[in-house]
Structures are given as structure tokens and as C-alpha cells.
């Protein structure tokens, strides 16, 4: 048992060390959220007045938790998917012949990716003063908890996909046909309750919707923007994590 814990710790520590050494990645990870929030967000917000209507500032506030969610989504997904090449051409191959169980490797990888996603998400939270969104310690810890749940959900999905697909080409396909739609239909960029019916339906089966909804309530504390009760959001995420991680370690365990 102790051996397995050390194994998990090793996988986790490696991801964290790598992250802090990869300065370009840390800096680069700011670019996309800033672009979305301050370029796309500001642009859309000001277009409201062109087409009649106000609420530009409210829109930016609405979008902010979505951008935190986006950062967590992409970071944890790519971290889990790095298994695809790490298994053939990287350190993971060395881990796979070490005397620790596949399940420990999966758990270590999930925790590593989630930790990095939480760090990245927290960095985005630093921009909150620019939008006059107050982040108290209590809010911060609530958000941290939700970031963890979202990151774990997405990481387990990533592990499942990485266990099934073997090539980098398939990886691109998944990014375009799964990750982007998931992001657009999660309520991160626009409210889902006033759109067309099919979007509403799709968003209900999108696990990220629940994460974004929880994130938005935790950051803004505005029940008007809330789609689902908090207990439902958390239950959905926790259940998904349990089911997907069992499935994920089963698939990862399966030998070719």
C-alpha cells in the first residue's frame, strides 16, 4: 500500500515539477483567457449598445467564471491526454514497467493534472479586481473546491480517451469535435436558459455545464444567474468522477 502511495506521489510530483519548469507554458496559458475575456468579452459587451440593450458590464462579470472554467477545462484535459505520447515516447513508458499498479498511475496522473488546473484557474482569479468582482478567502476556497471537481471530471474523461486512442491525429479530432463543443455549450460564454431548445437540451447532458454553473455561483454569488441548485451540480460532478475514474482505470489497465 505504501508503495502504491509513493507511486502516486511520484507521478504527481513529476507533473508539478514539469509545470513549474515550463515557463513558456505558464506565460502562454494566460494568453487565451485574456484574449477571451478582455478582447472577445469586451467586444461582445460593447456590441450590446449597438443592437440596443444594456448590460455590457454584467456580461463581462457573467463571462468571468466561464473563463476560469475554460482554463481548468483545457489544462486538465491536455494534461490527461499527454498520456497518449508520454506512453510511447516519454517517461510514462518507464513508469509502466515499474512495480506499481496501473490504478496508482491513473490516480497520480489525475491528481497531477487537477493540481495544475487549479493553479492555472487561480491565476485567472487574480484578474477579478479589474472587473470589480470581490474574491474573499471563503469564496476562494469554495472556487478551489469546484475547480478540483471540474478538473477531476475532465481529467477522468481525458484518461478514458487516452486509453482508447493511440495516435496524435485522433487527438486533434477529439479536440475539435468534443472539447470545443463542450466548452461552447457549457454556459461559459453565454447564458443557456434563453437560447434555442436544442442547445438547452445538449447543455443538460454536458457535464461541464454543471461545473460552470457551480463556478459562477461560487464566484458571483448571484442566484439569478444560477441554472441548477448547488447540490445538484456537486452531485453530478462527484458521481461522474467516481464512475469515470473506475472506467478509466479499467481501460488503462487493459493490456493490448
Amino acid at each position: 500500500m505504501k508503495k502504491e502511495l509513493i507511486g502516486m506521489y511520484t507521478i504527481w510530483l513529476r507533473d508539478i515539477k514539469r509545470y513549474f519548469r515550463d515557463k513558456p507554458r505558464i506565460i502562454g496559458s494566460f494568453a487565451q483567457p485574456i484574449l477571451f475575456l478582455f478582447v472577445l468579452g469586451t467586444g461582445i459587451a460593447s456590441s450590446f449598445s449597438t443592437f440596443g440593450g444594456g448590460g455590457g458590464k454584467e456580461f463581462l462579470n457573467f463571462m468571468f467564471p466561464g473563463i476560469v472554467g475554460m482554463t481548468v477545462l483545457f489544462t486538465s484535459f491536455f494534461s490527461a491526454m499527454s498520456i497518449v505520447w508520454d506512453r510511447e515516447f516519454g517517461f510514462l513508458r518507464e513508469v509502466l514497467v515499474a512495480p506499481i499498479s496501473r490504478t496508482s498511475i491513473v490516480v497520480g496522473k489525475l491528481l497531477g493534472g487537477s493540481t495544475i488546473a487549479m493553479i492555472q484557474g487561480s491565476i485567472i482569479l487574480l484578474f477579478s479586481p479589474l472587473l470589480n468582482i470581490p474574491i474573499t478567502f471563503l469564496i476562494f476556497f469554495k472556487v478551489l473546491g469546484i475547480m478540483f471537481l471540474v478538473a477531476m471530471t475532465i481529467s477522468t474523461m481525458g484518461i478514458i480517451l487516452a486509453s482508447v486512442i493511440k495516435s496524435m491525429q485522433a487527438f486533434q479530432v477529439i479536440t475539435n469535435f468534443l472539447l470545443m463543443p463542450m466548452f461552447f455549450l457549457s454556459g461559459a460564454l453565454f447564458p443557456l436558459n434563453n437560447t434555442v431548445e436544442w442547445m438547452n437540451v445538449v447543455s443538460k447532458i454536458n457535464p461541464l455545464s454543471y461545473g460552470i454553473d457551480a463556478m459562477r455561483f461560487a464566484i458571483l454569488n448571484n442566484s439569478e444567474l444560477q441554472l441548477y441548485p448547488m447540490w445538484l451540480n456537486i452531485t453530478v460532478l462527484v458521481c461522474l468522477i467516481v464512475v469515470l475514474s473506475v472506467l478509466g482505470s479499467f481501460l488503462f489497465n487493459r493490456q493490448e
Binding site: L13, R18, E88, G90, E94, V97, P99
Partner: protein, 331 residues
């Protein structure tokens, strides 16, 4: 299991690995003796890496039996993993970590006590001459240094068997020679079994025994000397004005099989070329333009057994990915 020889550290019986369409390993049986250098020689795609991956628990077998150090490969994976060291064909170091950190992580995974780990790290780094670069990031290492570090890492947990899958692939000739020097040195200083694969013929001559593998089957297994004896002597290559007449003449005096070689030359084998050549030229009915004689190599053995030379196969999807990763890693 009672008929397994005690001195055999690896026993493979009727091993088959069937991928969706291809039979990568086709009913092979062999054993590796304790403390020997055992080599797998064959072209790319012959099934060398597949066999190694099965033995080292990375891949499941379709059928057959594999016993390593008394443990069954399908049922006692963790026991097998503790007693093998691996150097993979593709780099498996973390290049954003230093050499020492890579060893540290390896030590954690293999549950080596921390104090002991420090001592052993220094020891293995010393062995491959990387002590003065131990705190550099692996991404700053050359290909040869990376391979040496991988060998050092593979030895850190004192395995009984060290697997080296194409240890010199992608390295320049000078570095390749150095890697072999380290391997020979290692064999001298440590009681360890080495299992290696290569498609460079000359390089496998350091092995005690070699299995020549082609299209998933072992076509010969013996010491390099005995394998070369299959050829039956020195290899003579001749360029003449009239090959047909010359062939008749050779057939008359030796009776051996004559092969057509490259550039219109012909090739055959004789026991003792130094006394054969002067007589041969003196009595030849046709004019001989050039003649050369050389000792047989393992390349000739492969050619003799399969009728073709070892050459690169077409690039698979994995090779393409491999090239891309190599490019990425150079940055």
C-alpha cells in the same frame, strides 16, 4: 514447469502474438541463460520489440508461455518488474528533469530507500561518465548521453536482467561504439544478464548467443561463431569478362553454390581463400577483372538464411510520430 532448466533465467515457449491483422510473433521458443549476453537480431518489424514488450509485461501474449526468473509473465507482473531493467528504443527520460531527478523518480518507483538511492545514483552515474552533468536538465543532453543515462537508470534497482532495445538506434557511429564499450564494461563488472536487440549486424557480435529473427520466427539461434560457420568459409566476390564460363569453371573445381551479387559480380564461399585464390586465378579460363575475399559477417548469415538483406521497412504511422517526437525533443 518441471522441465525448466535452472540456469535459464528466461524461458519462452511457443510464444504467439497476434495483432488484428498481423502475426507479429509466430510461435517462437527460446531460452536465455543466466549471466549471458543474448541478442535478438533482425530487420525492423521482425517482432523483436514485440517479444521484449511481452517479456517485460507491457504487452499481453496471445498464447504460449513466458517465465522470467521463475515468475509467470501473465500472473506475476510486479515480481517480474522488480527484477528487470529496461532501456527502450524510444527515449523514456523526462527531459525537463535533471539526470539526478530522473534517477530519484526511478528510485521512488522501485521503492529504494532514500539513503541507498543517493549512493546508487552516484555509482551508476560514475559508471556511464555523467557525474559532472548530473544536475543538468536532460533536454540539454546529446543523444548518446541520454542513452547512457537510460542505461544507468535501468541499473539503479540492481535488476537481474537488463533489456536493451536497439540501444544504438539513431546515434552516430562513434557514439554507438562508446555505448557498446559501456555495455561490455558493465558485463565485466557486474553479474547480470543482458538481453539486447539490434538490426545492426556487426554490433550483435558481442553477444554470447544470437537469435536471428525474421517475420516473427526465429530462423537461427547460436553463438556468432557457429552462425558464421553456416556460411562454410570465406566469401569470394569476382568480377570477370564472362560470368557464364567462369561459373562453369568454379563449379568444376569446387562444386559449391554460386550466387549473383551486385554490380554484375558473382559470389561463392570456399574454406581457405588464401591458398585457393592463387591457384584459381592461374587456371582460370576467363579474364578476371577483380577478386576479393573476406571473412563472413552476420549480414552474410542473414542473407544466406533469408535470401535478402536487412533493410529498413516502410515507415509506419508510429515511425512518423517517432520522427516528429525526435524533432520536438531537439528544441
Amino acid at each position: 514447469m518441471d522441465n525448466i532448466n535452472k540456469n535459464n533465467i528466461i524461458e519462452v515457449k511457443n510464444l504467439v502474438k497476434q495483432f488484428k491483422k498481423v502475426k507479429a510473433v509466430d510461435d517462437i521458443t527460446f531460452s536465455v541463460k543466466e549471466d549471458e549476453i543474448f541478442g535478438f537480431l533482425g530487420p525492423n518489424g521482425a517482432g523483436k520489440t514485440t517479444t521484449i514488450n511481452i517479456i517485460c509485461t507491457l504487452l499481453s501474449k496471445t498464447s504460449g508461455e513466458v517465465i522470467l526468473n521463475g515468475y509467470d509473465v501473465s500472473r506475476e507482473r510486479n515480481k517480474i518488474r522488480t527484477c528487470i531493467g529496461m532501456v527502450f528504443q524510444d527515449p523514456s527520460l523526462d527531459d525537463r528533469l535533471t539526470a539526478l531527478e530522473n534517477l530519484y523518480f526511478h528510485g521512488l518507483l522501485y521503492n529504494i530507500p532514500r539513503k541507498e538511492l543517493k549512493v546508487r545514483s552516484e555509482e551508476v552515474l560514475e559508471m556511464v561518465n555523467l557525474t559532472n552533468r548530473k544536475n543538468s536538465l536532460v533536454m540539454t543532453y546529446s543523444g548518446g548521453m541520454k542513452r547512457r543515462l537510460e542505461i544507468a537508470r535501468g541499473l539503479l534497482h540492481y535488476p537481474k536482467i537488463l533489456f536493451l532495445d536497439e540501444p544504438t538506434l539513431g546515434l552516430d557511429p562513434q557514439t554507438r561504439n562508446k555505448i557498446w564499450d559501456y555495455i561490455i564494461k558493465l558485463k565485466k563488472n557486474k553479474k547480470i544478464t543482458i538481453f539486447l536487440t539490434s538490426h545492426y549486424m556487426e554490433e550483435t557480435e558481442i553477444c554470447d548467443r544470437i537469435a536471428i529473427i525474421d517475420e516473427g520466427k526465429i530462423i537461427a539461434l547460436d553463438s556468432p561463431e557457429n552462425l558464421k560457420n553456416i556460411i562454410g568459409g570465406d566469401i569470394i566476390t569476382i568480377l570477370s569478362e564472362d560470368n557464364i564460363k567462369l561459373k562453369e569453371y568454379i563449379n568444376d573445381i569446387t562444386g559449391v553454390e554460386i550466387h549473383d551479387a551486385k554490380e554484375g559480380k558473382i559470389r561463392f564461399e570456399v574454406k581457405d581463400s588464401s591458398s585457393f585464390i592463387p591457384k584459381f586465378i592461374k587456371n582460370s579460363p576467363v579474364k578476371i577483372l577483380s577478386i576479393s575475399a573476406r571473412k563472413p559477417t552476420l549480414n552474410d548469415v542473414f542473407l544466406d538464411l533469408t535470401g535478402r538483406e536487412i533493410r529498413e521497412e516502410n515507415a509506419s504511422a508510429k515511425d512518423t510520430m517517432r520522427m516528429r517526437m525526435r524533432g520536438r525533443m531537439r528544441h
